[in-house]
């Protein structure tokens, strides 16, 4: 079966996110001071062949741990959906 993995990788909350900080500051400049605490990460998608959704989930998580995320500075969230035939 084919699955689609959608992964969000975000800088850890405890760490300064300079990109997010710069964008937060710009919100004031565009007249949207209500928006604050912008944090910027990465969104990664890929297709994965697996026997089950849980197998796809564990393979995607392995990809995150080994390559896609650096757990010292980032965390990840994986969503798996079955793809139509």
């Amino acid at each position: 079966m084919k699955f689609k993995a959608s992964i969000d990788i975000m800088p850890l909350k405890a760490l300064l996110d300079p990109q997010g900080k710069a964008v937060s500051a710009t919100m004031k400049n565009i007249g949207l001071p209500e928006i604050e605490n912008v944090r910027i990460g990465k969104h990664i998608t890929f297709e994965i062949t697996a026997n089950s959704a849980s197998q796809a989930q564990s393979q995607a998580e392995e990809a995150c741990r080994k390559l896609l995320a650096n757990l010292i500075m980032e965390d990840y969230h994986v969503v798996i959906e079955e793809m139509g035939v």
Partner: protein, 235 residues
């Protein structure tokens, strides 16, 4: 003494590094070769250097893809056996990603790419790469990075201090470590570290860019002289 400078796609300080080591040949009888990242052979080198640059375009994270280059398997095994490895700038980032050094390098606090001379001081002269340095004297060495803010979680930092792994700190001209002299927000002003065994080293500043009288600054040469000095003592 044979040095191997690894060339990744996107390395751009490899030739500077080779030039410095070539220039030292007359005095130290050393050899230097370039090692292509797709090779599996360290060609009998005694000292491996991962140079600066933008390996794999810094895609995903700096160093994250380069650490899986074929030659890195051999570099890891070499380091595990006690072989000497130095990573400068992107090389430091690769060594952290490869778990050969603790911690990681985050985006600079300012979000800017910083390219300028800074001052660093050796925390101790007991490292292979600092044996000829005066710990009360600042070295002027350029940095050129967007992601050079050293960070490690609390537990890793405790170990870094417990095993005396800090090699260089950012400081002012008088060798005083102050946060004002810290260009990128590095934790505790850290500019360079070693592994626990003290055979693997990483530093963000570029000593190879400050090792030629033509460039008007030879402070970096002292780091290379330290390497030769230490090896001669070991032998």
């Amino acid at each position: 003494m044979k040095f191997g400078v690894v060339v990744f796609p996107g390395s751009n300080c490899d030739q500077d590094m080779v030039d410095v080591l070539e220039n030292m040949k007359a005095r130290h009888k050393n050899e230097v070769v370039k090692l292509w990242h797709k090779d599996h052979d360290l060609q009998g080198c005694d000292f491996i250097i991962l140079p600066g640059g933008f390996s794999y375009g810094d895609y995903l994270r700096s160093g994250a893809i380069a650490r899986f280059s074929p030659i890195m398997q051999q570099v890891s095994e070499f380091a595990d056996k006690g072989g000497f490895v130095l990573g400068v700038c992107n090389g430091f980032q690769i060594l952290c990603e490869a778990n050969l050094l603790p911690g990681t390098l985050l985006h600079n606090n300012t979000r800017k790419f910083i390219c300028k001379n800074v001052y660093i001081k050796a925390v101790s002269d007991e490292f292979l790469i600092s044996s000829k340095l005066n710990t009360h004297k600042a070295l002027k060495i350029p940095i050129a990075h967007g992601e050079g803010k050293f960070f490690a979680p609390d537990e890793a930092m405790r170990e870094i201090y417990q095993y005396n792994q800090i090699v260089f700190k950012y400081c002012d001209e008088k060798a005083v470590v102050t946060f004002d002299a810290n260009p990128n927000g590095s934790l505790d002003c850290i500019a360079g570290i070693s592994n626990r065994r003290k055979n693997v080293f990483g530093m963000m500043p570029h000593p190879e860019r400050a090792a030629d009288t033509l460039l008007g600054n030879t402070d970096g040469l002292l780091i290379f002289e330290s390497i030769f000095n230490s090896i001669e003592i070991f032998n």
